[in-house]
C-alpha cells in the first residue's frame, strides 16, 4: 500500500478527510513557518518582561529597552502571520484575542489593581485590556517599573500571547477542502489588503488632513512608532500569499491555466511592492501613492483573480447591502 493511501485511510478512520494539496501547501509553506516564528517571538516576551520586573534600578532602563525590542519582534511576526487572517488565525479569532484595538487604559489600570495570578484570573479581564496593544501601552505610554503590579500584569499579558501563539501553531485549518479554503484565502487576502490600505495607512492621513486645526496622523502602533514595521510585515504576508510557493494565488491561477491573470497579479504586486518599500510615517504623499497602488491591486484581485479562481468575494465592494 502506498504511504499516501495509507495516510488517507488513517485520516478517514480518524473521522477526518485528508487536507487537499492546496491547503497542505499553504500550511506547509506559509502558515506553519509563520506560526513558528510567532511562537518563538511571542515566547521570548515572557522572560524579557520577567527580567524587567526583577531588574535593579540600575538595570531597569536597559531591561525596558530589551523588553520593547522583544515586543517589536513579536509584533512583526504576528503581523506577518495575521496579515492575511486565514485558518487558525481566523477560526480562533486570534486578532480579537490578542490584537484588539483600541486598547483601553482604564481597563488596563483596573486589571492591574485586580492583580491576576494566572490564566483563570485573566479570563475575567476584557480583551481591550490585553494582547499586544495593551502591552504596547504598558511598555511605552506608561512604562512599567520593576517590582510593581503593573509589571506583573504585563507578564500575565505576555503569557496569554505566548499561549495563543502555541495554540495557533498547533492548530490546522478547519477546512480541508481546497475549494473552500481557496475561497477563504482570496476573501481574507482582499480583507487584508484593505486593512493595510485604509485603517492602516490612508484613513489616519485623511483624518489628520480634515481635522481643524490640522493634526498629526494617528497611525496604528503609535506609541511604539512601529507603524512602518507593521506595514512592512502585513505587506510581506500579502505579497507572500499572492506570489510565493504552491500555496499562493499565483500558483492557484497557474494550476487552472489562468496564466494571463497570474501575470497581471504578479505585475500589480510588483508595482505595490515598489510603492511600499521603505515607507515612513512622515511621507504623506508617498503613503497616499502606496495606498492607491494597494487599491489598484485589490481591484484587480476582485475583478480578475477571484473570478478566474471561481471565488465569490463576500468582502468585496460588489456585494449587496
Amino acid at each position: 500500500m502506498h504511504l499516501r493511501t495509507f495516510a488517507l485511510l488513517m485520516s478517514l478512520f480518524a473521522g477526518q478527510a485528508a487536507a487537499g494539496p492546496f491547503v497542505e501547501a499553504v500550511q506547509r509553506d506559509w502558515l506553519g513557518p509563520r506560526a513558528a516564528d510567532f511562537v518563538r517571538d511571542g515566547a521570548a516576551l515572557v522572560p524579557a518582561l520577567e527580567t524587567l520586573c526583577a531588574a535593579t534600578p540600575e538595570r531597569a532602563e536597559a531591561d525596558l529597552a530589551q523588553a520593547r525590542e522583544h515586543w517589536l519582534r513579536a509584533l512583526s511576526s504576528w503581523e506577518t502571520l495575521a496579515g492575511v487572517a486565514v485558518g487558525p488565525v481566523l477560526e480562533r479569532r486570534a486578532q480579537r484575542r490578542i490584537d484588539f484595538t483600541p486598547t483601553r487604559p482604564r481597563m488596563i489600570e483596573k486589571a492591574i489593581r485586580a492583580e491576576p495570578k494566572g490564566p483563570a484570573d485573566m479570563e475575567l479581564v476584557g480583551t481591550p485590556a490585553k494582547g499586544l496593544p495593551a502591552l504596547e501601552w504598558l511598555l511605552w505610554s506608561r512604562p512599567v517599573q520593576p517590582g510593581t503590579p503593573g509589571c506583573r500584569y504585563a507578564v500575565r499579558v505576555a503569557e496569554e500571547i505566548r499561549a495563543e501563539a502555541a495554540a495557533l501553531a498547533a492548530a490546522r485549518p478547519a477546512t480541508q477542502d481546497d475549494t473552500a479554503f481557496l475561497a477563504e484565502l482570496v476573501n481574507q487576502w482582499v480583507g487584508g489588503v484593505e486593512r493595510l490600505r485604509w485603517p492602516g495607512m490612508e484613513m489616519p492621513l485623511r483624518v489628520a488632513m480634515t481635522s481643524v486645526p490640522a493634526a498629526v496622523p494617528d497611525f496604528p502602533r503609535r506609541d511604539s512608532h512601529a507603524a512602518p514595521l507593521a506595514w512592512s510585515a502585513q505587506w510581506r504576508a500579502l505579497r507572500g500569499l499572492a506570489l510565493e510557493g504552491e500555496g499562493s494565488l499565483r500558483a492557484a491561477l497557474e494550476s487552472r491555466g489562468q496564466t494571463e491573470a497570474a501575470a497581471a497579479l504578479a505585475q500589480a504586486v510588483a508595482a505595490a511592492d515598489a510603492a511600499m518599500g521603505g515607507l515612513t510615517t512622515g511621507e504623506g504623499t508617498r503613503i497616499l501613492a502606496a495606498a492607491k497602488s494597494l487599491a489598484g491591486l485589490k481591484a484587480l484581485v476582485e475583478s480578475r483573480v477571484a473570478p478566474a479562481l471561481g471565488v465569490n468575494i463576500g468582502f468585496s465592494d460588489a456585494d449587496g447591502d
Binding site: A85, L90, R93, Q95, R96, F100, T101, P102, G126, T127, P128, N187, Q188, G191, E194, W198, P199, E202, M203, R206, V207, T210, A295, G296, A299, G314, F315, S316, D317, D319, G320, D321
Partner: protein
C-alpha cells in the same frame, strides 16, 4: 429572450425622451438627485441633474475615501452621506442651498471601537442625528445619538440586535424610531464576509427617541431573511429584504418585501423569482417599489400584492419626485407614473450607482 413587458418598456424608452424631459422639468425646475457612485476606482457622492432637455448630467461631485451608502437631506439644506458598512466616516456637504451650491464640507470620523452601518436619520429640527452603528468588540447594534451641528456623539442606545442598517421615524407611534436589525453576524476581522449564518437574527425594533427604550420588537418566521431598507406608505411600513439562505435556489425564490402594520410583520410573495435581494425601497401608488438589481428590474407591489417587474439593468436607487418614481440603473434612468402608461427612460452618465439616491 426579453419578456413582452420588458420589450415594451424598451420600446417606450426609445420614444420617451421628450416625456422624460417634461417629467423632470416640472414647473421649470430640473430634477436634482443626490447619489453615490463609483467611477473607475474612485468613489464619489454628488448631484445628478435631469434637465429640461431630458439629459442627465453630473452637476456636482465630491471624492469620498470609501464607498458611500445612505444619503440624507438635512433639515438645514445640506446633504449627509454615510460610509458603507463597516464604515468610518460621515460627510456633511453644502449649506442651505444644498450640496454642490456652495457651503462647507464637514467630515466626522467614527469613534474608536465603532463602525457606521450605512444609514442615518435626522430630527425634524436638525438638532439631533441618529446613526446606525456597530460595536466592534461585541458586534452589537447601536444607535449613535449625535449633535446635528457638530456631529459629535452624545449617547449610544442598543438596537437589541446585530447588524443594524436603516432607521426611520415611526409614522404610527410619534416620537419613536423604527430600526431594521439586518441580523447578519459579521466580525471586524472578516469585514463584510458573512459567517455563522445559523446565528442570524434579524428584527425590527421600535425605540423611544427620547432615551432609546425598547418599545417593541418583531421578527419574520424565516430567520434567513435580513430586514434592511425601510419606507412608509401611509400607515404601512415596507421593508426591503436580503435573503441569506445557504442554498442558491432558496435565495433566488425568496421574497424581497415585508410589510409592517404596527402589529406584525409578514412577507409578500411574488409569482416570479426576484433573486432574493431588494437593494432599496420607495412608496409607490398604494404599495411599494423595490430596486432588485439581481432580478434586473424594479419590482412593483400594489396594495394587493405583486404587480410587475419593470426591466432595468442593475436597478437599485429609487426616489419619488415630481409625481413619479425615479429608478437608476446601469447607464439608464427610468421614470414611472403611478397612473396608467409605460415607464419612460433616459440615459445617465456611465457611472456605477450605489443603492440609493434621493431627490433634492
Amino acid at each position: 429572450m426579453p419578456r413582452r413587458r420588458e420589450f415594451l418598456i424598451g420600446m417606450a424608452a426609445l420614444l420617451g425622451a421628450p416625456a422624460l424631459a417634461r417629467a423632470a422639468a416640472r414647473q421649470g425646475e430640473p430634477l436634482r438627485l443626490a447619489a453615490a457612485w463609483q467611477t473607475g476606482q474612485a468613489y464619489r457622492v454628488g448631484v445628478l441633474e435631469v434637465d429640461g432637455a431630458g439629459a442627465t448630467r453630473i452637476a456636482a461631485a465630491l471624492d469620498v475615501p470609501t464607498r458611500a451608502h445612505g444619503l440624507l437631506r438635512l433639515p438645514g439644506g445640506g446633504l449627509l452621506a454615510v460610509a458603507r458598512r463597516p464604515g468610518d466616516w460621515l460627510l456633511r456637504w453644502g449649506g442651505t442651498e444644498g450640496p454642490g451650491k456652495g457651503g462647507a464640507t464637514a467630515w466626522r470620523w467614527i469613534e474608536p471601537g465603532r463602525a457606521f452601518a450605512g444609514h442615518a436619520l435626522a430630527s425634524a429640527d436638525g438638532a439631533t442625528l441618529y446613526t446606525a452603528e456597530i460595536d466592534l468588540e461585541s458586534g452589537a447594534g447601536l444607535i449613535g445619538v449625535r449633535d446635528g451641528a457638530t456631529l459629535e456623539k452624545r449617547a449610544e442606545w442598543p438596537t437589541h440586535g446585530l447588524d443594524p442598517h436603516m432607521l426611520a421615524w415611526d409614522e404610527l407611534h410619534p416620537g419613536a424610531l423604527i430600526v431594521a436589525n439586518g441580523g447578519v453576524p459579521t466580525q471586524p476581522e472578516t469585514g463584510r464576509m458573512k459567517r455563522d449564518l445559523e446565528r442570524m437574527d434579524s428584527s425590527l425594533v421600535r425605540l423611544d427617541a427620547r432615551g432609546g427604550a425598547l418599545l417593541g420588537q418583531w421578527r419574520l418566521a424565516d430567520p434567513r431573511l435580513s430586514l434592511r431598507h425601510l419606507a412608509w406608505n401611509g400607515a404601512r411600513l415596507g421593508i426591503a429584504l436580503q435573503a441569506e439562505h445557504d442554498a442558491a435556489e432558496a435565495r433566488h425564490k425568496a421574497p424581497v418585501l415585508a410589510l409592517f402594520d404596527g402589529q406584525g410583520l409578514r412577507t409578500v410573495d411574488a409569482p416570479r423569482p426576484l433573486a432574493g435581494y431588494g437593494g432599496s425601497i420607495a412608496p409607490f401608488a398604494a404599495g411599494f417599489a423595490i430596486g432588485c438589481p439581481r432580478a434586473r428590474g424594479v419590482a412593483v407591489f400594489g396594495a394587493e400584492g405583486f404587480r410587475a417587474l419593470l426591466g432595468l439593468e442593475d436597478a437599485c436607487p429609487l426616489a419619488s419626485a415630481h409625481g413619479r418614481l425615479w429608478a437608476g440603473g446601469s447607464g439608464r434612468l427610468m421614470a414611472v407614473s403611478p397612473g396608467a402608461g409605460s415607464p419612460i427612460q433616459g440615459q445617465v452618465p456611465e457611472i456605477r450607482l450605489d443603492n440609493h439616491w434621493i431627490a433634492l
